[in-house]
Symmetry: C2
Subunit: 498 residues, 2 copies
């Protein structure tokens, strides 16, 4: 077989392994009974092992290397397929199997220890594991590159093309512009939080409204489904099977509403990828940052816009007449954009959210680049919270232990969250040149907006890199000023108009 | 590696493939969105192909053959493992791969054609496919054995040790004893069917009662879950993950109640298999017939007994006060054991059920042994319905096209349904020597009955063959007279007491 045919034949098998492992993971995260896991973990590690063996087999590696060497003869799309395959191989090929296996074991243990430590507010419990994870991450990066800075390698893993130099520019802008702006907003904000925000909203009715949102956003239930899970997520195997989950907190209805719109953003991206790409390795979102740009576009730019609710607030009021019947649209709009200093990232409002990410970026940078001692991390965390958000966590659970990422070795992931929000704002200003955004939201029909995102962004999957995509869509490279402008315009109007 | 180590190592991989294919199948049958199937089918066939290649690899086949040849040196359990592996290989090894692949394709098409034909009541549509399936089945059997009667081979596939000779004895007893008895019961039965049977029972409340049944029968929700699907089924990958489904028909509450108890019988069997067997190929029920004996024991012998409802009828009445508040326990008991001539097997009562199976057995026997023309099957079906149940189907949908089995090539499967009911009765008479069955049901606590079944039957999985199990439990070989006696005692008391 020629390299291309060999590449495609093995890739198809890899995709088959990925499909069955994906379905098993969906089951594990949504309904699998708790005692099934030991046996299941054992069996799934066998299937992962078969897939790993195939991906690292001389036949496959040889084909990818040969195609990579001769990439100039390939079409753009085929070349991108080869790049993706090469990028995936580069991450695993140079790492000795024992080192990798030991690391996987460490992470499995660490996640359980982290859960325990978080529940007990006990950083000391988690600290030795975190120490080992960081040490191993440094070692793993060293296998892959003896020149690059470790944190640069990790940042590029989660967002191709990104580096400390680029993130520094971005976060310096965030810091310089938003930290003082947030202070200004908070000083001007009414002191009393609207009571309807944490009133009681029954689960069944919340679900009813989430189903209404699925219609509004034109989610195709022939190609997916809604389910419940502890942490909301979107899951997909290919363009014809894209599902998502939410959870229902009866004392915080915004949790299900905005998690649903957020996940619908991820889901629409995956559903809108050209079906033809399903036979390639390009049939998913191009990066974490671009994915997050879509989820946050839907959640914040559409879902927290007054024009959007001018069409749909009545439906929500009809479902919750007791809680919202007497709340005006203006008051509701203020409520869904209520700004406050808070400890927990996932519950933060749109404006303070990037400050939560800034803190994590600075922490990770210090860990990998400045050799900060793992013991001192909680103090450092609390200092940064004080500096940027003017509050100090009382416990490790509402401070450094709140997020799962580090216990899973995912360093370099957090920055993509803020980056995604900033990408979204840049897309937004381009979109407004083509579409009358507010007028469209006031019609209630999201078709033109959905189509714009599909045509410009979604359909390409991984054919375009994040950098190429932003340039093609907006006509310029990534520029964080759009994000600052978007936040300042919106939150000035909301809080500083007087 | 020695043959035993090689056998176990490859078997573990086969079990891993089986696990992921199992999870995918659960997903497909309960919630997968309808457009995901073409891609999924393609991917799953790759995984099945990997598993098939491994099972038929010289390494595995060689190990199994070597162990089979030296089986005298093995422990009972290890020997049984080898027998199971050998039996599975015998079914596939001699069949040329192209013949097998063509057959799988034919069955895939046939199932869709059958669905269509059933919906349109059009046997002619399905007939050419059925003809080809039967022809291929005969060919497949010929590859495997040039001496055995084709139908004998198929009967043994679904119930090890069974043959036409043995089933003839069984069904002659059924025919000779039950056909006249059913006539007698029907003549004595009140003419008016109790109205509460097909009253309206809301879905949500039905589910509430099914959850109550899960508690009553001591189903362990840490090792399984309840879900909905079009056709109720039990699903399991190992003793720690055994799930089941029901459906809710709002105009026929018995459907969810008795399907739930039936599936709970299958599920308890699988859950009670010794956990140590999960690392072997013996960790599932020993045969279709024995499995059905457990589901029918729970559904009919426990679930349609008056003593059982003396404890639980009040809970059902509390959920459905309007429908059942004024129905006495005696009337309810008659209702759940209402005997009538009916067209559809899956809706048939306990007493006429074996006659539906008798008809199918005679049909299959005629097809494979008497070379009956496929064109004449509908006429033959209707004649037999007239003979044994005194009614004649008006359409193919309520006649020969009602069941899915033949479109999937499953000839020889039906007889195990009646056989299972008969096994259950034989177990029942043995149990009554050890336990005061009625008194136990009147306490509401099923623990002693569950434990008896677990100790005597469930725990062994496939360690014991159906024949050995019946002999060990009851002290004698299978004897259909217990079944006849059970039905006559119960239904005489219900209908012929006067």
């Amino acid at each position: 077989m020629q390299p291309w045919e060999r590449f495609k034949a093995i890739q198809k098998k890899l995709k088959a392994y990925s499909l069955v492992l994906g379905i098993a993971s969906w089951d594990s995260h949504t309904e699998a009974p708790k005692k099934c896991f030991p046996y299941r973990a054992d069996m799934l590690s066998i299937i992962s092992g078969e897939s790993f063996a195939l991906q690292t087999s001389p036949e496959y590696v040889g084909a990818v290397e040969a195609l990579y060497a001769g990439q100039d003869t390939l079409s753009t799309q085929d070349r991108e397929e080869v790049h993706q395959a090469k990028r995936a191989l580069d991450k695993i090929l140079k790492i000795p199997k024992e080192v990798y296996t030991e690391y996987v074991k460490l992470l499995n243990m660490s996640q359980r220890v982290w859960e325990d430590a978080k529940a007990k507010d006990d950083y000391d419990l988690f600290e030795p594991y975190l120490d080992q994870i960081i040490a191993t991450q440094k070692k793993l990066v060293a296998y892959r590159s003896d020149t690059a800075d470790p944190y640069d390698v990790l940042l590029d893993d989660f967002e191709a093309g990104m580096s400390m130099a680029k993130y520094d520019t971005f976060f310096n802008t965030v810091k310089g512009e938003l930290v003082p702006f947030v202070k200004e907003v908070l000083a001007a904000r009414p002191t009393e939080k609207p009571a309807f925000i944490d009133a009681f909203y029954a689960r069944g009715e919340q679900k009813q409204f989430v189903e209404k949102l699925m219609e509004i956003f034109q989610y195709d239930t022939d190609r997916g489904l809604l389910k419940e899970s502890v942490h909301p997520f979107t899951w997909n195997t290919h363009s014809q099977d894209v599902r998502f989950t939410v959870r229902y907190l009866e004392n915080y209805v915004f949790s299900s509403i905005f998690a649903a719109i957020h996940e619908l953003g991820h889901a629409l991206y995956e559903m809108n990828i050209a079906e033809a790409l399903d036979t390639t390795n390009l049939n998913t979102g191009t990066s974490m940052g671009i994915h997050e740009s879509q989820s946050r576009f839907y959640e914040n730019i559409i879902g927290r816009d007054k024009a959007f609710w001018s069409q749909h607030y009545q439906s929500l009021q009809a479902i919750f007449p007791k809680q919202l019947g007497k709340v005006s649209l203006d008051d509701f709009y203020l409520g869904i954009n209520w700004v406050e200093e808070s400890f927990i990232r996932v519950e933060a409002d749109e404006l303070t959210y990037p400050l939560h990410i800034l803190i994590r970026y600075e922490m990770e940078r210090a860990i990998f680049n400045e050799g900060v001692d793992v013991k001192s991390l909680p103090t450092l965390w609390n200092e940064k919270m004080k500096t940027y958000l003017n509050i100090e966590p009382k416990t490790a659970g509402e401070g450094i232990l709140q997020d799962v990422h580090w216990s899973g070795g995912a360093f370099g992931y957090f920055p993509t969250y803020a980056l995604g929000s900033a990408y979204a704002a840049q897309f937004f200003y381009t979109m407004k040149q083509d579409l009358d955004f507010t007028a469209l939201l006031e019609t209630g029909d999201l078709t033109p907006i959905n189509n714009w995102l599909k045509d410009k962004i979604h359909q390409y999957g991984k054919i375009k890199s994040p950098e190429a995509l932003i340039l093609d869509v907006t006509g310029e490279p990534f520029d964080p000023q759009y994000y600052i402008r978007y936040l300042k315009e919106k939150y000035s109007a909301l809080y500083l108009k007087g």
